[in-house]
């Protein structure tokens, strides 16, 4: 059989069909579809819900025996119901809801982290801009940044002779390093072109800092701030455990001393959710402020 005959038979085997008109149905158009939105919501919410439910079941099973040292979720729910259901109650100086305690801790973080942000960006700009400042300060920073937050606490208690400024200092000293280091990297990476523009315009150091350096390094600065706020939230809980007061950290220590394990577990959940929100908040501010700056 020649090639020609094969082609002929194939062609005959597929007779041409008359063209069909395919009507565009309403479904093809883009419009508000509740099903699609529900589907997207489900695909992001259902997996974590299943995982959390499974973890709760495992926890319940593992801690149900009477000899278990940790409470199961059902016991946490029953014994700490007041804390879960009423975050904003206020029954006097030491008996307040967890939301109040979180807010008090957040206030400390705001002051300590705010100071760290200002000082950190200024020092980072100095280190990024001046080669001699970098040579002198960078080794010091690299050593100090590895010191764990709580190791600073005795020293700051000795210096400030009061627990509240000591806690603030611990937050400050913990969160400042990533801010300094990231700002310095950002400043070092400012393109020479922008520096040339500043030179030709004869911008003075202050104008250069405000108009060129901060916007050009903003993406790096916000990376540093985001790491810094996470670290300061880590530090505040640890610092409050030791310094006392009414923060969420001290609440955990207090609960441990009076053997209220369910309370501790609820407090842990509060701390985790708050830390997550802080991280997302700084990330969102960063995305808003640096819009357009990274595009060439």
């Amino acid at each position: 059989m020649s090639i020609q005959t094969i082609e002929d038979t194939n062609v005959k085997a597929f007779p041409a069909k008359p063209a069909e008109v395919i009507a565009l149905t309403a479904k093809a158009r883009r419009r508000f579809e509740p099903m699609a939105i529900a589907g997207r919501l489900a695909s992001t919410l259902v997996p974590p819900i299943i995982v959390i439910a499974l973890l709760l079941v495992v926890w319940q099973v593992a801690c149900s025996s009477p000899t278990s040292s940790l409470p199961p979720p059902s016991q946490v729910w029953n014994e700490a119901y007041d804390l879960i259901a009423h975050p904003f109650f206020d029954n006097g100086p030491q008996d307040i809801g967890l939301a109040w305690r979180v807010l008090i801790s957040l206030q400390r973080v705001a002051i300590g982290f705010g100071l760290a942000a200002v000082v950190g960006v200024a020092l980072g700009a100095l280190v990024g801009q001046s080669i001699w400042a970098m040579r002198g300060l960078d080794p010091v920073f690299q050593i100090l940044r590895t010191v764990p937050p709580l190791a600073w606490l005795p020293l700051s208690l000795a210096a400030f002779r009061d627990s509240n400024p000591s806690a603030l200092f611990v937050i400050f000293i913990t969160s400042i390093w990533p801010i300094i280091i990231n700002t310095a990297v950002g400043v070092r990476n400012i393109p020479q072109d922008y520096r040339n523009v500043a030179l030709i315009l004869r911008l003075n150091p202050f104008e250069f800092f405000v108009k060129i350096m901060v916007p050009a390094a903003a993406p790096y600065i916000f990376t540093g701030l985001r790491i810094g706020i996470g670290l300061s939230w880590l530090a505040i809980v640890a610092a409050e455990m030791l310094t006392g007061g009414v923060g969420i950290g001290f609440f955990i220590w207090d609960a441990w001393n009076s053997s209220r394990l369910p309370d501790i577990i609820v407090a842990l959940a509060y701390i985790g959710v708050t830390g997550f929100c802080l991280d997302r908040l700084v990330a969102a501010v960063g995305a808003f402020v640096t819009r357009g700056t990274t595009a060439k």
């Binding site: 393109p191 072109d193 922008y194 040339n196 523009v197 030179l199 030709i200 315009l201 004869r202 911008l203 104008e207 108009k211 060129i212 916007p215 050009a216 903003a218 357009g292 700056t293 990274t294 595009a295 060439k296």
Partner: protein
């Protein structure tokens, strides 16, 4: 009569790790007010270094740059540069980019309304007033370069320095911008120095073409006067004898007498 801009026996060498490499050697050139001068040469011959020396962004090793008999040793707005890659600040809008320059240069001498009017006049000059609220990322390469030119002009410089301003653009956009630059030069009479590696561009725009020898230790090989009357039109010039003769002279210099040899290092 003393020259407007004088490059007086300039040498430039860079020291790196104990090794000194001489980039420019014995550059002598005088430029009159209102003149349009192109500097052409193969890549690596130090044209951009020469422009940076005039701008004051780099310091001379020996000799001096004299602008109206005053030595230039630091950058300043009276020698505005249009950079090859536009160098607009991406976090500012087109208007704000120019406003940064205008408020720095004219912050004291012009009122707020005058400054606004001056910014708009310069944007109009490069036909970019319509995009004043856009950020550099939202406009095309040619438009960015127009804004770069407007920013430089808005400083009202004594000398406009163009560092391969059209190098990164496509041929059509480049032709449009060349026409725009010619038009601006004829209207403002600004003294202009342009770095280029495009022979046609050099002949079309310049009053004089400075041809550089190859590095290391590059110097001025030849200076060619372009005796074409202005205004010049690219279509008519395509068959003009003087144009073709100038073009040929530059091509001969670049490709016969000072052929670019890839360094065998």
């Amino acid at each position: 009569m003393t020259a407007y801009l004088k490059l007086d026996h300039i040498d430039k060498s860079f020291a790196r790790g104990g090794q000194v490499s001489e980039v420019l050697s014995d550059i002598r050139l005088t430029i009159d007010k209102g003149e349009f001068v192109s500097i052409i040469g193969h890549s690596g011959c130090g044209k951009s270094t020469l422009l940076n020396l005039i701008a004051g962004l780099t310091k001379v090793s020996a000799g001096a740059v004299l602008l109206q008999d005053k030595e230039v040793d630091s950058p300043g707005p009276e020698r505005a540069v249009v950079f090859q890659n536009h160098s607009l600040l991406p976090w500012l809008t087109v208007y704000e980019n120019i406003s940064l320059a205008v408020s720095k240069v004219f912050g004291r001498s012009k009122s707020k309304a005058e400054r606004h009017e001056w910014i708009m006049r310069n944007l109009d000059l490069v036909q970019m007033a319509h995009a004043r609220y856009k950020r550099p990322a939202e406009i095309s390469g040619g438009m960015k370069q127009r804004v770069g030119i407007a920013r430089a002009l808005a400083m009202e410089p004594k000398i406009l320095l163009l560092d391969e301003p059209f190098g990164a653009l496509d041929a059509l956009t480049r032709a449009h911008l060349q026409d725009a630059v010619m038009d601006i030069h004829s209207r403002l009479g600004s003294t202009t120095i342009m770095i280029t590696h495009d022979v046609d561009e050099a002949v079309l725009l310049s009053d004089r073409i400075v041809m550089m020898t190859n590095g290391p230790a590059a110097t001025i090989g030849e200076v060619l006067a372009v005796p074409l009357t202005r205004p010049r039109r690219r279509v008519e010039l395509a068959s003009d004898r003087t144009f073709l003769r100038c073009r040929e002279a530059v091509l001969k210099f670049l490709y016969e007498r000072h052929r670019f040899v890839e360094a065998a290092e």
